[in-house]
């Protein structure tokens, strides 16, 4: 038990890292669900595609890239990745969801699962074709490591190490969340977005171009999801075409946890879920005296997902919406 306590700082650092990723990906889910009431299954794959695009860009920059300072390379790749995945998201919406807006709810969901599979396989194909293996290991822009002396604060704590990459990841994701929050709450387009989420018909009567707003939502959600994909690749070094699906599901749980459609809620849900998951992975074995090991960490994550969806579908802060009869 004391081990759990002393390892807490590291768990917290790792948990917040994972949580920050969940949080940004959750934003994409929550924005789309808020507007279309559609679980955009493909969003996890957009994240994954972002990881591959970013890593691909980095690898193909080669000598030219290493001549640039690392931080310029990073920003360049992030912007390019965001742009490409943003366009990808817009394309997906136009192709697979827009024709189905009036269809029964089951149909767009099926289309979304389809897109998700298509992306997985296309990326797998391209990765295998170019590198010979669908599991890709990228180079790291920042090698540094940092030790935070938690032990000097409270004696029983162990020190936590944190990679420079992790710091960058946390910093950028926080910046993204701030910017999005300002965008949605303070700008004209953000207001239009909220209006469309509330009531599409009325919004269109107020001369808001609903299609444009929805496209923009997909662009932003996918752009930040894709950029996070690259940060993920930097953080964990290896990526494969199947990282998006399960991570997407967890991020969706985070979105529900924070109240679907609620952007700040999604950030909170993501961080909470990340910490819980890392804590469980680190300590399940100790807590259950060896009966369940870390191989059950996904079971734990899914259990949270199921419990949230069953008992708290309106999220931790939200109110439940009743169907109009």
């Amino acid at each position: 038990m004391s081990h759990i306590f002393s390892a807490l700082p590291q768990v917290l650092v790792d948990g917040l890292t994972l949580g920050a990723i969940y949080a940004v990906v959750a934003l994409g889910y929550t924005m789309v669900y808020g507007i279309l009431e559609l679980i955009n299954f493909a969003h996890g794959e957009v994240f994954m595609t972002g990881a591959f695009i970013g890593t691909g860009l980095l690898l193909s920059m080669g000598a030219f890239g290493s001549a640039l300072p690392a931080w310029i390379t990073l920003i360049l790749i992030l912007i390019l990745t965001a742009l490409l995945t943003g366009l990808l998201g817009m394309g997906i919406e136009k192709l697979a969801y827009r024709p189905l807006r009036k269809a029964p709810k089951l149909i767009p969901l099926i289309s979304a699962i389809g897109i998700s599979f298509i992306l997985q396989d296309l990326v797998r194909f391209l990765a295998e074709w170019k590198t010979g293996n669908y599991i890709v290991t990228g180079t790291t822009l920042f090698e540094g490591k940092l030790t935070i002396p938690f032990s000097s604060i409270i004696g029983t704590f162990q020190n936590a190490t944190i990679k420079t990459n992790t710091l960058i990841l946390i910093g950028i994701t926080i910046a993204i969340m701030f910017m999005l929050d300002i965008f949605v709450n303070r700008t004209k387009w953000g207001t239009a977005m909220r209006a469309v989420a509330q009531d599409q018909e009325t919004a269109s009567l107020m001369s808001i171009n609903v299609n444009k707003v929805i496209s923009l939502t997909f662009f932003i959600g996918s752009a930040i999801g894709g950029a996070t994909g690259f940060l993920f690749a930097q953080q964990y070094a290896t990526i494969d075409p199947y990282i998006g699906f399960i991570l997407g599901l967890k991020a969706f749980t985070a979105a529900v946890l924070g109240g679907i459609g609620n952007i700040r809620g999604a950030m909170f849900g993501g961080l909470l879920l990340g910490v819980l998951e890392v804590f469980a992975a680190a300590n399940l074995s100790t807590l259950t005296s060896g009966v369940f090991g870390s191989e059950y960490k996904d079971v734990f994550a899914f259990a949270i997902l199921i419990l949230v969806l069953i008992f708290k579908p309106e999220g931790l802060f939200g109110k439940s919406a009743k169907e109009k009869v």
Binding site: P108, R124, F302
Partner: protein, 413 residues
């Protein structure tokens, strides 16, 4: 053009002509299966005769008789010509298993409108139910030497496997069915993954499933001293179960229960206002759908003599879903067609194309169509959703004869 239309028109009206043409088609395709060495095209044409049969205007009785003769006599005979009978039969058995599962999922997705993305879990439960008791695993688990059960136990286990899967369907359903619409898809997906992970790790603290190594040495079915070991023998087991399943779902479709499933799918609030209990009706859908899957799980483990968790991944659940969607949600003939198309695509066509391509133009392994399964499924799902959401064969409503009903109402008075 006009002449052709006339010809079609005549064909549509003339049942005798239809019958003769069908027989001709069956004769030709079965002969080519018999005489050609391993011709996928010929085999597909032979299977296609069943689809042709579906579209003829023959009476129900004649249709069923022809289908039975085709399945029980002609197909096994035709494939016995060359050396590859077991290959053909292997495909047929797998296809049969998938058809039964797709029909089960169709109850849940097609009739009741509940999107279940973890359906393969029930298949796993059936497979493990038989696998544990009919392999040495049970002996170590219960420290008893009555295990493994002999192959004769296979038959009752078809029912037991179905029942246990149904029970799990209910157990999972009770909490899950509180969830609405699209969240249900995610929750069932989560449950499906949980079951797989649990089976993968349940070799400790008590060894129940033997973990990732899986269960081997599972007993083959035995009937009066005869052991079913070849695919061509399993074929008959599968056909028998499949017939029962098809008749079962057809009867369910237009029953009180079947109608209440569809009512819930169309409008939950109105259905409730008509006196239909939501949870109970949904649970029936879950349980019955699961039971079909469980039964086929038993067959699966007996046929392969081996089960491990890798057969029950998410992609399997999606495969079955693609079958239902492609064929047409709620349409029994559609789902059968969808399941057949996808299984044959998976098991034969893709491998054939791959072989052909690697022989002729020597493509890199990455490009091989067998590995493109996800891409193909994804494209099918999107295309169907956008262009043909009702699937290849749209579900028909039951038609009543107004004249007959009108006569009865008058005679009542």
């Amino acid at each position: 053009m006009i002449r052709m239309n006339k010809g079609l028109d005549m064909l549509q009206k003339n049942r005798k002509l239809q019958f003769t043409l069908l027989l001709l088609f069956i004769l030709l395709s079965s002969a080519s299966v018999y005489f050609l060495e391993r011709s996928v095209t010929a085999f597909l044409l032979l299977l296609g005769s069943l689809l042709l049969l579906h579209y003829t205007h023959l009476s129900k009785k004649i249709k069923w008789s022809i289908a039975l003769i085709l399945l029980v006599v002609i197909i096994p005979l035709a494939t016995s010509g060359g050396t590859s009978q077991q290959d053909y039969m292997e495909v047929a058995v797998q296809t049969g298993i998938y058809i039964a599962m797709a029909l089960g999922l169709n109850i849940v997705v097609g009739f009741a409108g509940l999107l279940d993305l973890g359906f393969v879990a029930f298949f796993a439960i059936g497979a493990y139910t038989y696998g544990i008791f009919a392999s040495p695993q049970a002996a170590t688990l219960f420290h008893s030497n009555i295990f493994p059960l002999g192959g004769a136990w296979f038959w009752p286990f078809i029912i037991i496997g179905g029942l246990i899967a149904a029970l799990f369907g209910i157990l999972l359903g009770i909490p899950v069915l509180r969830v609405k619409g699209d969240y249900l898809a995610i929750v069932t997906l989560g449950f499906g993954e949980i079951i797989r992970i649990v089976f993968n790790n349940l070799d400790k603290p008590i060894n129940i499933t033997n973990g990732a190594q899986g269960l081997s040495q599972i007993q083959q079915p035995e009937l009066f001293g005869f052991t079913f070991s070849l695919a061509s023998q399993f074929y008959y087991i599968v056909i028998a179960i499949l017939l029962i399943v098809i008749i079962g779902v057809q009867r369910l479709e237009n029953s009180k229960l079947g109608r209440s499933w569809k009512a819930i799918r169309e409008d939950e609030i109105a259905a409730q206002a008509m006196g239909i209990p939501l949870v109970k009706t949904k649970l029936w859908a879950f349980a019955l759908g699961a039971s079909f899957s469980g039964m086929m799980g038993v067959v699966f483990s007996a046929k392969n003599m081996f089960v491990d968790p890798s057969s029950f991944t998410l992609i399997e659940s999606i495969t079955i879903l693609v079958m239902v969607i492609l064929g047409g949600m709620g349409s029994i003939p559609g789902v059968i067609l969808g399941a057949a198309v996808i299984s044959v695509l998976n098991l034969q066509i893709l491998t054939e194309i791959t072989n052909f391509l690697t022989q002729t133009i020597n493509i890199p392994e990455t490009l091989s169509p067998t590995k493109m399964q996800r891409l193909i499924f994804g494209v099918i799902l999107v295309l169907i959703a956008v262009y043909r959401p009702k699937g290849l064969i749209t579900a028909k409503t039951k038609q009543f004869d107004p004249k007959e009903l009108a006569d009865q109402t008058i005679s009542d008075k």
